[in-house]
């Protein structure tokens, strides 16, 4: 069992990770989701002892303290990292990469057995074992990287964005492979941007936002969490149903800028991603016309300290419009409040458990899914129409 307790990392003045705690047991896949720059890679680097910043906190593997140990010692304790950029030896052959993977003392005795197991898992590596890795495709290189890490006979495998640069098909294959690795009893800690696919194979997940771990839940729960979507596509994507009818009529002149919201409001919307307690508050610019009459704002949206009591006071049908109008009404006020509040955001942060209960109940996930699919179809039609009408990069097919 890998236990990371209250780890903080800073690069000079820049705090890349603050007080993060994560644990991974053997035989489970744990995924860490988060936007770019949220600190995901830093966390994995800190665990593996290759972080260049200043690290505090503790990393323990089966009770052995690994904090401040050199990277090669950490490998000996059974943690293998597949870093971003793969961490392979591009000028060596597949076979050599794998042999090097088994360099550590803990792996040597089992080298033959591990290799055999690996080749059953990835037959392609066996086929290509004499090939120089640099000449292989991105997906194959990723396979080598995972194979290399598995050769060190790890108890925990950590991977930094393994799907990076892979085509959707290869991604699918990769995640299937990871599942197979998990089934051999290895624990996997996965940092990913590809939320849907990684959640589909994961057991648990953490949401990392702006250097903090803001949420922990089962993978199934995270998969239907609108906050996860928002973390990737921003405010409006979480409510595609609403934006569909009004969004961008195809005839809109393209030089026209979107209704210029004031920057504070934009930032406010963007910041919804950072402030966990306000996850439900969506203030997308340009705001769509309310479908139903919005109830008057009961209190300013950004107040982060006490999470709103769920479901009961907020009928989900009007929730978004409600929040939109509130956000609009208070957007000017928000700036000053926020300026005053943001820096002090940390101390009153509610505990994880509180926050999970504060998650707004979005009802039946099947309904949501259906709505989302409808929306996607509409969007596809719209996009098609737009393409034929307004193809400004003339390709033969457009005419």
């Amino acid at each position: 069992m890998l236990e990371v307790q209250g780890i903080s990392v800073s690069y000079g003045k820049h705090r890349a990770l603050e007080d993060a705690s994560v644990r991974v047991a053997k035989g489970e896949i744990v995924v860490i989701l988060g936007a770019n720059g949220a600190g995901k890679s830093t966390l994995l680097k800190a665990i593996s002892g290759i972080c260049e910043g200043h690290v505090s906190g503790s990393v323990r593997m089966d009770g052995t303290d690994l904090t401040d140990k050199p990277a090669n010692r950490i490998v000996e304790e059974g943690i293998a990292l597949v870093p971003e950029g793969r961490g392979i030896f591009p000028d060596l052959t597949v076979q050599e990469n794998l042999t090097l993977g088994a360099y550590s003392a803990r792996a040597r005795d089992e080298e033959a057995g591990n290799l055999e197991r690996l080749f059953t898992l990835f037959p392609k590596l066996h086929e290509r074992r004499r090939q120089v890795v640099r000449t292989m495709s991105g997906g194959e290189q990723q396979m080598v990287a995972i194979g290399r890490a598995m050769m060190s006979n790890p108890a925990i495998l950590t991977l930094d964005e393994p799907s990076l640069g892979l085509s959707p098909l290869l991604c699918k294959e990769l995640f299937q492979n990871l599942k197979a690795v998990r089934d051999t009893g290895i624990g996997i800690l996965l940092v990913e941007q590809n939320a849907k696919q990684s959640l589909a194979i994961a057991d648990r997940g953490y949401l990392l936002e702006n250097a903090h771990i803001v949420h922990e839940d089962s993978a199934a729960a995270l998969a239907v969490d609108p906050a996860v979507q928002k973390a990737y596509l921003g405010g409006a994507a979480a409510k595609p149903v609403r934006s569909a009818p009004v969004a961008a009529p195809a005839s809109a002149p393209r030089t026209q800028r979107p209704a210029a919201a004031d920057p504070a409001a934009i930032a406010a919307a963007a910041m919804q991603n950072f402030a966990p307690a306000k996850r439900a508050a969506v203030a997308p610019p340009p705001p769509p016309p309310p479908v139903q009459a919005a109830p008057p704002p009961s209190r300013p949206a950004p107040a982060p300290v006490t999470p709103p009591s769920p479901a009961a006071t907020r009928p989900q049908g009007i929730q978004i419009d409600d929040l939109v109008s509130r956000a609009r009404a208070t957007s000017a006020a928000q700036v000053s409040t926020r300026n005053a509040q943001q820096p002090r955001r940390d101390p009153p942060r509610p505990k994880l458990a509180d926050r999970t209960t504060a998650m707004p109940d979005l009802g039946n996930s099947a309904d949501r899914l259906r709505a989302a699919l409808d929306e996607i179809e509409q969007a596809a039609r719209r996009a098609e129409a737009y393409r034929t009408d307004h193809n400004r990069t003339p390709k033969p097919t457009g005419k």
């Binding site: 593996s48 290759i50 050199p70 990277a71 090669n72 490998v75 000996e76 293998a80 990292l81 870093p83 961490g87 392979i88 030896f89 591009p90 000028d91 060596l92 050599e96 042999t99 090097l100 993977g101 360099y103 550590s104 003392a105 792996a107 290399r148 890490a149 060190s152």
Partner: protein, 288 residues
Amino acid sequence: MEILITGLVLGGTYALIAMGLNLQYGMARIMNLANGEVLVAGGFAAFWFYTAGQISPLLTVFIVAPLAFVANWLIYVIILRPLVKRAKSRGQLEVDSILTTFGLSFIAVGVMLAVFGGDYFSYSFLATPVQLFGDTYALNRILAFLSAVVICGALYLWLNHSRTGMSVRAIAVSPDSAKLVGIDVPRLSAIAFALGGAVTAVGGTLISSFLTLDASTGVLFTLKALIIVIMGGVGDVRGTIVAALMLGILETFVASVIDPGLTLAAAYALFVIILLFRPQGLFGRKTT
């Protein structure tokens, strides 16, 4: 034909020296400009053992190699490692290590001058002629060449087929990845550096059996070794051997056809051509 064989023979010994430097620069990432002094020291040892105790240079090799290994290991750990740790960037390490190894080379020259004096030294070992393809060659050169072939071959096998050799190559290819597979990079870098020094010193021992050396010729060998390593591609064993043979043949050609005084000029001309058209070396790959 004669030029070709003499050139190949000379190139073979160059390959050995350059291999030593390549281990130090390509693998341990230290540009060692005191490399030539290590070579001269190896030659001195051979000279001393031969004149004082009639010990064959071929035997001296077995004394020189472990001594040079230990000495270079100490140099790396005591003098160079602090620089590696202090360096914030590759560029800074390069400047620092160049200056430091210059200093070391001067110190080595100074010590050798103090111990042996400034004279040329040479001894006559197996200077008997042998017939080969109708021409005559000195036996000591042939022997030196054969020894170089054996050592280069052994090194090549070691690097490509042993576990430690492979991990040394791994450090050369990607030190960051090497850490992740559990390789103790600082320790292995020291070993690569020490081994490079030992190989160079052995090269010096062999060369001293047919070339005249003096305390300050080291820098010429450093230059030649550097040119070979860069021509062949840093960290590339095959390239080193090919480049060394090329240089050996070129030098022999220039020396016998134009003027023996122009060998370095010829080497430089070759070097410039390589720099202009293939700056990554014959076998090196462009870094992007």
